[in-house]
């Protein structure tokens, strides 16, 4: 049994850490950390236990915070986390991915940075913004943000990223060159007949299935999708879901066929859980069929949403599933989503939830 399970919570008013043992029955909450800066994403490196938190403060700009003692002490840095003079400055860090000694950071306005010294300094991965589509990238309501960082488990040169609202991009040469990967995903907000462009789709979240690097799941502004060929072609998996709109997606830690989504009622209807009833949807067959999971979740007068990085699974057996709402409630399930209970309430708007299982 692991020594502890950490839930890493990014919020509009700082980062928090909820901690439990391997039983995951009782949780203690610590925070707010990062001087209450808005934290869009907080992610742990399972190899080192280092935790990184990225965000942006209206006064002081973007930075990545770091703790090597599970939140007791923090430092921050933005050294090198800048575009060239004259370009729109980096406003906030939106996503982080520690991977095999490198930490990747997606930022707003959309771009990719990486650190090879544990977040002390950052280098711009210029190839992405050199893509010819860049001049046409349009911000979504949340801004022009790079939010999904999907690294490859065995090939450090391969990566998929998601930008709202520019779409999914893929590199196989470590970020020097990028290809659009949006075939089969809709852009309902474009004129009729132009709904399947090469890029410009409003991707909300992309995750990779465990053990199958070419199997990705995507929650889009306009639909839910699966690809089985590394995003060369996407296929709709909306049948059986209450809407085509939502923000987060989460993969199971071991079963590539299992994926979780939290559909909302629609982009112009308040972006709440449908009918004021909270539900997580789980598929055990890659999105062909869906189970509506509601046990323990509020089934009346629930008018919250769940943001794009605020749904996560842990690596235990059975897998834990967690999500944080924009009303500041953190829900958890320790049985793969069959039963739920609140872990923390009255938090600020929750931007992200990730897990870190510590065996040491």
């Amino acid at each position: 049994m692991p020594k502890k399970v950490l839930l890493l919570i990014g919020s509009k008013k700082g980062a928090f850490i909820a901690e439990s043992n391997g039983q995951r029955k009782k949780w203690t909450l610590r925070g707010p950390f990062c001087e209450t800066w808005p934290i869009n994403h907080i992610a742990g490196d399972p190899e080192t236990g280092t935790i990184y938190a990225g965000g942006g403060n209206e006064w002081f700009g973007a930075a990545v915070w770091k703790t090597t003692d599970f939140g007791k002490t923090w430092t921050h840095s933005s050294k090198g986390l800048n575009y060239e003079a004259g370009e729109d400055p980096v406003k906030a860090v939106w996503s982080l991915a520690p991977r095999n000694g490198t930490v990747y950071a997606g930022v707003q306005p959309a771009g990719l940075f990486k650190s090879r010294d544990g977040g002390k300094s950052w280098k711009h991965v210029e190839g992405l913004r050199d893509h010819p589509s860049k001049q046409h990238w349009q911000p979504g309501a949340g801004g022009l943000i790079l939010h999904s960082l999907v690294t490859h488990p065995t090939d450090d040169k391969k990566m998929w990223i998601g930008i709202s609202a520019a779409g999914v991009f893929y590199t196989k040469d470590g970020g020097k060159t990028w290809e659009t990967r949006n075939k089969g995903t809709r852009a309902d907000f474009l004129p009729e007949g132009q709904n399947y462009p090469e890029f410009g789709q409003c991707v909300h979240c992309v995750v990779m299935a465990p053990g199958e690097p070419d199997l990705l799941y995507q929650q889009n502004h306009c639909g839910m999708y699966r690809t089985e060929d590394g995003a060369k072609q996407w296929t709709s998996i909306e049948t059986g879901l209450p809407s085509s709109f939502g923000f987060p997606a989460a993969a199971h830690p071991r079963d590539p066929n299992t994926v979780y989504l939290i559909p909302l009622n629609g982009d112009s209807k308040g972006r709440y859980v449908p009918d004021g009833k909270a539900a997580v949807y789980r598929s055990r067959d890659r999105g062909d069929h869906w189970d509506k999971l509601t046990d323990g979740l509020p089934q009346e007068n629930a008018y919250f949403g769940v943001l794009r990085q605020a749904l996560a699974t842990d690596s235990l057996k059975p897998a834990g599933v967690y999500f944080g709402t924009n009303g500041g409630v953190l829900f958890g399930s320790r049985d793969e989503g069959d039963h739920w209970e609140p872990i923390a309430e009255h938090l600020p708007v929750i931007s992200s939830v990730e897990t870190l299982v510590v065996d040491r």
Binding site: E35, E58, W59, F60, G61, K79, L81, N82, G86, V90
Partner: protein, 96 residues
């Protein structure tokens, strides 16, 4: 800093508490030599690496929600700092 004698050409820079909190060992009041706001920021960066990025963006310019006042007047990076000046770095009203 009232009552503190400074060299004739030194300036005194006052930093906001929430900025100082980000840099362990930094101080609310700093005496230095600088003839422009840009030089002042350079010196703050030398003293506490990383502080430039908190005060300035990469345009480069003073951040939108940070204000620098010299003897009561709002300044930009190019603004000269006269000898003996009192320079206030302040956070604007911001947030939600």
């Amino acid at each position: 800093m009232t009552g503190v004698k400074t060299a004739a050409d030194a300036i005194v820079v006052r930093l906001p508490a929430i900025l100082v909190d980000l840099f362990p060992g930094s101080r609310r009041s700093v005496e230095m030599r600088a003839s422009s706001v840009r030089e002042m920021v350079d010196e703050l960066e030398r003293l506490w690496p990383g502080m430039r990025d908190r005060i300035c963006d990469s345009t480069p310019a003073i951040r939108r929600h940070i204000n620098v006042f010299i003897d009561g007047n709002k300044a930009s990076l190019e603004t000269p700092v006269p000898p003996g000046a009192d320079v206030f770095v302040l956070t604007a009203i911001s947030g939600g």
